[in-house]
């Protein structure tokens, strides 16, 4: 069993890259390997948005990520600087910045670039998915 870290830099529905990352993540798990961490970076933070409402007959990528993360207890980190700039906030950030609501899906957590460095150092493979 090997460990993988995925860096996801694309927003859902803007390019194919976030969907490619999701399919790759499924294949890693199906092969019996471990996901050390998912790191959502730059526009990739939109994958953690609970406010995405695609048409009902279209694939709901943020909720699909959430299901995969919760089913397999994956550490899914959303870069704090990327997220705050783009309006992706959890309850703690909502309170800290006196915002009116939070939108980050449960299962994802806010974190810093140190966690990306940890993934680079400790995962067997790091694979980046950029738009």
């Amino acid at each position: 069993m090997s460990s993988f870290a995925l860096v996801i830099q694309g927003a859902p529905y803007s390019s194919q890259s976030a969907l490619t990352a999701y399919r790759y993540c499924e294949a890693v798990l199906k092969a019996g390997h471990n996901i050390h961490r998912l790191f959502f970076y730059q526009d990739g933070v939109h994958n953690a948005s609970g406010f995405c409402v695609p048409p009902q007959d279209e694939f709901h990528l943020p909720r699909a990520w959430q299901r995969l993360i919760q089913q397999h207890q994956i550490d899914a980190v959303v870069c704090v600087a990327s997220a705050l700039k783009r309006g992706i906030v959890d309850q703690a950030e909502t309170q800290r910045h006196l915002l009116t609501g939070s939108n980050m899906l449960p299962g994802f957590s806010i974190g810093g670039l140190g966690l990306l460095m940890d993934a680079l150092a400790n995962a067997d493979r790091v694979v980046t998915f950029a738009p």
Partner: protein
């Protein structure tokens, strides 16, 4: 130390940077819109050195309707093959 290179777009400058770094034993995987580079009329863009495998992601070929049209020397693989290729090489470089 072999590398899996992953490329996802048909950008000429990106391609030339990528191809210049390929070494014997490496693999070059075409995904997303980069699979169009596997069409015969695109051959001049995807010349790779000897000893480098050129592979396309089957699902991305299929959704673009070009599975049967790509050059015969280009292999194809599934997502599980993509994962296996990632482990068969020491590192994965995504060109962007």
């Amino acid at each position: 130390m072999s590398t899996l290179h992953v490329i996802n777009k048909s950008d000429a400058a990106l391609w030339s940077s990528c191809v210049a770094t390929l070494s014997r034993g490496d693999s070059l995987l075409l995904i997303e819109d980069a699979v169009y580079a596997g069409l015969p009329e695109q051959q001049q863009n995807v010349f790779v050195p000897d000893g480098v495998k050129l592979i396309a992601l089957a699902e991305d070929l299929a959704v673009r309707g070009i599975s049967a049209k790509i050059r015969p020397e280009i292999g194809n693989t599934t997502y599980s093959g993509f994962v296996a290729l990632s482990l068969a090489h020491e590192r994965v470089v995504s060109w962007q």
